[in-house]
Assembly symmetry: C2
Homo-oligomer: 165 residues x 2
DNA sequence: CCTTTTGTTCTGTATATTCTGAACAAAAGG
DNA sequence: CCTTTTGTTCAGAATATACAGAACAAAAGG
């Protein structure tokens, strides 16, 4: 087993998580599940990453809420084992769907509300900028809806744009 | 002046910042510069947002590092005033360029390095997943380079995809 | 020169978050 | 039933982040 190489990937994935606002333990566990070629139970993760069982338990719960990890059961073993979504694009899609819903949609609603009220009373407000901002968010909303509707569609889109055969 | 409406937008923008890993004060100041129709000096921001001068100073420095805010000088006034990039798309582009450079590129480098080493010694490593991950990141890199090269090109792309006339 | 204005940097405090160990719950085995 | 295994939840400790106020720097005005 190439432990050092695994560590290197886990570290990279952890850095990625930090950059995108994901908890370090959560990202590291995810990295471990991605890079290794097997299912892990909680105690094994505790041992491998040297973090507490409670931390592993809650982190795995969060990973499941993002639909990137799931439980499996081994025959004749009471323990729960965990694996990650094996398809990289599907994984990304699941994360993007969740993030859009949790983080983008409320912002769009908020900006649209401000924009609507600014029509009535615009004193001191840069209405043109607000409108631009709203239009931009609307465009992203439309784009995201299309892209996230089907994996095939998004990949088609991207290949078309980047001109890859 | 519709102070409440301005507050509402600043709050929305702050929430957006939090969701994307931006410091709350930084995001609120940015929100203030976006929504209001004028240039602000440090003391005015201190007064309006009720945060300390040191906080405003460092936050503005960060906003400048993202190329979304710049200093201007008023005739016959020693104070520095601050305005935000007036074009919403240009603002987004500047942020994306910086984030790609600071946060995405190192990840791509890291994963590519792991991938290269995994060719030699792949014991216990899910090489197929690593390859998928690397390919996905490469695709994004290509896509981002194209999109960020010119504002017109990206807007064209988006309009083409979303089918907007 | 000395004072005033303006902005930045530094240091300690307050706040938020992350993480651990312990307590707890649930269920299987004997 | 009682014990063991397994996983979750909770309370507090440890850590990291954000922030304010003070000290400092730079430059203009007199």
């Amino acid at each position: 087993m190439n432990e050092q190489l695994i560590d290197q990937f886990i570290e990279t994935w952890g850095a990625m998580g930090r950059a995108w606002g994901v908890n370090n333990s959560v990202a590291r566990i995810h990295g471990l599940l991605i890079i290794t070629d097997r299912a892990w139970c909680i105690d094994e993760i505790v041992e491998r990453l040297q973090i507490s069982k409670s931390n592993v338990s809650t982190s795995l719960k969060e990973l499941r809420s993002w639909n990137v990890t799931r439980k499996i059961f081994q025959p004749g073993d009471r323990k729960e084992y965990f694996v990650c979504e094996p398809n990289a694009w599907e994984m990304l899609f699941n994360i993007m769907r969740q993030r859009k819903q949790r983080e983008f949609d409320p912002i769009l609603t908020g900006v649209a509300a401000t924009y609507a009220r600014a029509q009535e009373d615009s004193a001191g407000i840069a209405v043109d900028r607000l409108e631009q901002m709203k239009n931009m968010l609307d465009t992203f909303d439309r784009l995201a809806k299309m892209a996230l509707a089907s994996e095939a569609q998004m990949k088609g889109m991207i290949e078309f744009i980047t001109g890859k055969k």
